[in-house]
Amino acid sequence: MEPQQEVSAAATSTVPQDIGAVFLKHRDAMYGVAHAMLRTDRHHRAEDVISEVMVSILKNPPGSVRNWESFLVRAVQNKVRDLWRSSGYRHEQPVLAEGSPIEGDPLVGDHVEDDLALEVIEAIDRQQTVQKVREVMAELDAWDPQAAYVLWQCKGLERTSQQVADELEVSSSRVRQILSKALTRFRSLLEAKEVKL
C-alpha cells in the first residue's frame, strides 16, 4: 500500500514540504511507533520498516498532506501490518480488531476510517507521553541515580537483573528490589505530570 493511499485526502499548504525536512521533524515518532509495534516481533526491524516507507514516498511523493506527522505514523502502522500479513506473523497484542481492512478492501467503512484515525492520534499521543518519560527519568536520576540506572537497564534495555547485578556487584535480588522501588517512584512522578497509566 502506498503511503498516499493510507491517509485520506486533505487540504494542504501551498508550499510542498521537503521530504528530508519532514522526516527530520517526525522520525522520532516514526521510529517510536515502529519499535512499539514490533516489540514482540523478532522477524522485522524498525529501521527496515522506516526505510521502506520513505523509499515508497520518494518513489511517489504525495501530492497533498495536511498533517505530515499523522501521514507518516499511519504509513508506518500500515507498513508493519502489511509485513505481518505477508509473513503470516501473529502479533500478541493486535492493535486493530481482527476485522481490520486489508489493502484494496472495498468494504472499508467510515467507522474503520474513524478507528484508523483514532489509532494514529493515540500513537502520536503515546509518543508525546514518551517525551515526558524522558523528563521523568531525569527527575528520577536526581532523586536516586542508582534506581534510575537500574530502571533504565532492566526495563529500557531489557537486561536481566542478573546482568545488572554482575555489573553493580550486588545480588540479583537486590537489583529486583531496587527496580521495584524505582518503578513505584517513577509511577508517582509520571502521575504528577498527569500521565495516565
Binding site: F23, M54, V133
Partner: protein, 226 residues
C-alpha cells in the same frame, strides 16, 4: 504483603510483556493486579523511551534523504552570500521560504551560514537553499581542503568502483540532485549501515545500493508511463 508475594512482584516487574507476564499476573488477586498494572505500564513506557530513533549519523534513512551533515559536502558561505545578493533574497526571506518547506531554521542561521563555516547544514538543505536562491546546488558546495580520513576502508573500496559511480549518476538523475549530493547520500547510507552494526562486504553494499536505485527508478518509470 508476605515475603513470597514481594518476591513474586519483583519477578513480575522484571518480566517483559508477553504470555509469561500474563501468566504471572494471573496469580495475583484483583486488588493486587489493580496496583501492579500501572507499574507494568510505567515499565513499558521506559522501554518505549529507550527505543526511539537512532542517532542521526547512524540512521540509514536519514542518510538516504541527505539530512545527515557530510564533511565532504559543506555549504560555501561566500557562495551563498553572493547567490543571495544576485537573486535579491534576504536572509529573513530565505529563512521564511525554508521554513515553509519544512526546515527548522531562522534568519540568524542564514546569517551564520554566510559568515562562518556551516558544517551542520546537510546536503538536502543545501539543495533547498540552492533552489530558493536559484543556483545550481553544486555551486554552493565547498570541498574541504583535507579529505576526510576516517572513512571506513570498506566504503572507500566501494566508492572507488565503477558500479558505485554509475549508481551515483543514476541516483542523481532519479532524485534530480547534483552528482555530489547523490554521492554523499549513497556514501552516508553505506556509513550508516556500518555504524548500525551490519558489516556487509563490498559486493553486498553495492547490491543493496543498486536495489535501492532500481526501486526508485521503477517508481519514476511508472510515473512517466502514467
Amino acid at each position: 504483603m508476605s515475603e513470597e508475594t514481594d518476591r513474586l512482584v519483583e519477578q513480575l516487574l522484571e518480566e517483559p510483556p508477553g504470555p509469561q507476564r500474563e501468566q504471572m499476573l494471573a496469580r495475583f488477586d484483583d486488588d493486587q493486579r489493580e496496583k501492579l498494572l500501572p507499574l507494568l505500564a510505567a515499565g513499558d513506557l521506559v522501554w518505549e523511551a529507550a527505543h526511539s530513533a537512532p542517532p542521526l549519523e547512524d540512521d540509514p534513512v536519514a542518510a538516504l534523504l541527505g539530512v545527515v551533515p557530510d564533511p565532504n559536502v559543506q555549504l560555501d558561505g561566500k557562495a551563498l552570500f553572493r547567490a543571495c545578493q544576485a537573486s535579491r533574497v534576504k536572509p529573513t526571506a530565505l529563512a521564511a521560504r525554508l521554513i515553509a518547506r519544512g526546515w527548522k531554521v531562522d534568519a540568524s542561521d542564514v546569517f551564520r551560514w554566510q559568515t562562518r563555516a556551516a558544517p551542520d547544514v546537510p546536503p538536502a538543505l543545501i539543495k533547498a537553499i540552492a533552489e530558493e536562491v536559484r543556483i545550481d546546488s553544486g555551486r554552493l558546495v565547498s570541498r574541504p581542503q583535507q579529505p576526510r580520513t576516517n572513512l571506513l576502508g570498506l566504503t572507500k573500496e566501494v566508492s572507488a568502483t565503477q558500479l558505485f559511480r554509475d549508481l551515483v549518476q543514476r541516483f542523481a538523475k532519479v532524485q534530480r540532485i547534483s552528482v555530489e549530493m547523490a554521492e554523499s547520500a549513497l556514501r552516508q547510507r553505506m556509513l550508516a549501515t556500518v555504524h548500525r552494526g551490519d558489516m556487509p562486504d563490498a559486493e553486498q553494499m553495492l547490491a543493496s545500493l543498486e536495489s535501492l536505485v532500481d526501486t526508485l527508478e521503477g517508481g519514476q518509470e511508472s510515473d512517466e508511463d502514467a
